[in-house]
Symmetry: C2
Subunit: 263 residues, 2 copies
């Protein structure tokens, strides 16, 4: 398989999908004021997903594609080449803000992440990586992440996990957010993964993410030395939803051992 | 006083200051790797503030200017024309991310906000307003904000206020973040005020802000019908630090009465 050719193909496809999304904001201004905002996002989500899925199925008929709205394949194993696509990661931002959402794509071969893409559509910022060949922010190579102590770390975590919840002991999370330098929450797992990979935040934690939310970002994160696992410390499994953490080197074990107690 | 002329002057000055900040990222790449990151930000913060203060003092000698690093004036009343400047709002983002920070400027006459500016420097996005003449995002007029129920609201609040803290009863904040549609935290009061004004989030709450953090944003927010007060419901006072809330119409009273209990 020629991964370089697939890489060029995927980049081109993502940029075209992003252009369609940006254009949709002009085309749907009338619809926007009449219809429910959730309809709008569903339609565009589906339209973009269908566009990408159709292209991939046509040009790579032997590949599988797993995607949020269900136009792709149902898979029960990671054998072969699998594309994981979220056409619009950060749905609520898409509706409310018309920015701060991303196209997320990961291409895996026999369960190993080979190519990863996070495209911040409105910022026109592409984060991408190929396994063993480094990660890039647009055309700039991202440096290896250095160790940061927790006291100097900015952590991406939503305030809802600091409140009592069914997933994790929030007393420990309170200790974490009190001890670190600060917290952020951007509302898109893909963008937060891209931010960890580019050193803009130092960790990102979520209690429930799907494979298409994280598959692309994991490839990018691993190329710069970040550590990505479930909150049980296992390799992210890509056949169902799970908890998730990605951090710079040095933070992962400390956060998991001292501040995460799953219910 | 010719406010239109001051408006043109202020916009030009802000854009020039933003350009200086962007250029500083190139000039200080060497210094960046040797020196402490906090030194870098302090130097640029001070350099930009000094640049703006010197210009304003030269061209408007009768005006006062109040600014974060202290190159401006100490004021004890709001009489006359007062400029409130934060050269880099979102200092931690500036250091860690090199994006998601803003120049914030408000120009008040006898305590009344006449002109307001929030300039997202790396996004090159200017939010601005003149009292009675509407608010703008770049060249686009921002529409009046409509009422949104709390259940559909995105609220800007940092996770640290959901944890036990000395300022506010966090049990009530937990109820708030659980009841609303979602929360975000961007790490810049000015940007969160700009986001409320442009409808991207529906409220923003902070327990401690200085006049230069909010003075510009308040002018913009008020032009689109947002409500900005202290958490005691009083008009934001611009002679010292205070709590702060800004919301779309409809949310302000509900949040203050049901979810805020100051210590």
């Amino acid at each position: 398989m020629n991964l370089n050719a697939i890489d060029r193909y995927a980049k081109s496809l993502i940029k075209e999908a992003g252009h369609k999304i940006r254009v949709s904001f002009f085309n749907t201004i009338d619809i926007d004021s009449k219809a429910d905002a959730n309809d709008l996002v569903t339609n565009i989500d589906k339209e973009i997903e269908r566009f990408v899925v159709d292209r991939v199925k046509q040009d790579f008929p032997e590949h599988k594609i797993v995607s949020e709205e269900g136009f792709g394949d149902k898979i029960t194993s990671l054998d072969g080449t699998v594309w994981f696509l979220d056409p619009i990661d950060g749905t609520m931002n898409f509706i409310h803000q018309r920015r701060n959402f991303a196209i997320s794509l990961g291409i895996y071969v026999d369960g190993v992440g080979m190519l990863g893409y996070i495209y911040d559509v409105m910022g026109d910022d592409l984060y991408h990586a190929a396994k063993g060949e480094g990660a890039y922010f647009n055309d700039e190579r991202l440096p290896q992440l250095e160790i940061t102590p927790l006291e100097e770390a900015l952590i991406g975590i939503n305030a809802s996990w600091v409140a009592p919840n069914t997933k994790v002991d929030n007393d420990k999370i309170i200790q974490l957010v009190t001890r670190c330098r600060g917290t952020r929450s951007y509302g898109s797992a893909a963008i937060e993964l891209a931010y960890v990979s580019s050193g803009r935040i130092d960790a990102y934690i979520s209690m429930r993410l799907a494979p298409w939310d994280i598959a692309g970002g994991i490839v990018i994160a691993q190329e710069v030395g970040a550590v990505a696992t479930s909150l049980q410390g296992e390799a992210p499994h890509l056949l169902g939803t799970d908890t998730f953490i990605v951090t710079r080197p040095g933070l992962h074990e400390e956060i998991l051992s001292k501040y995460i107690r799953l219910k």
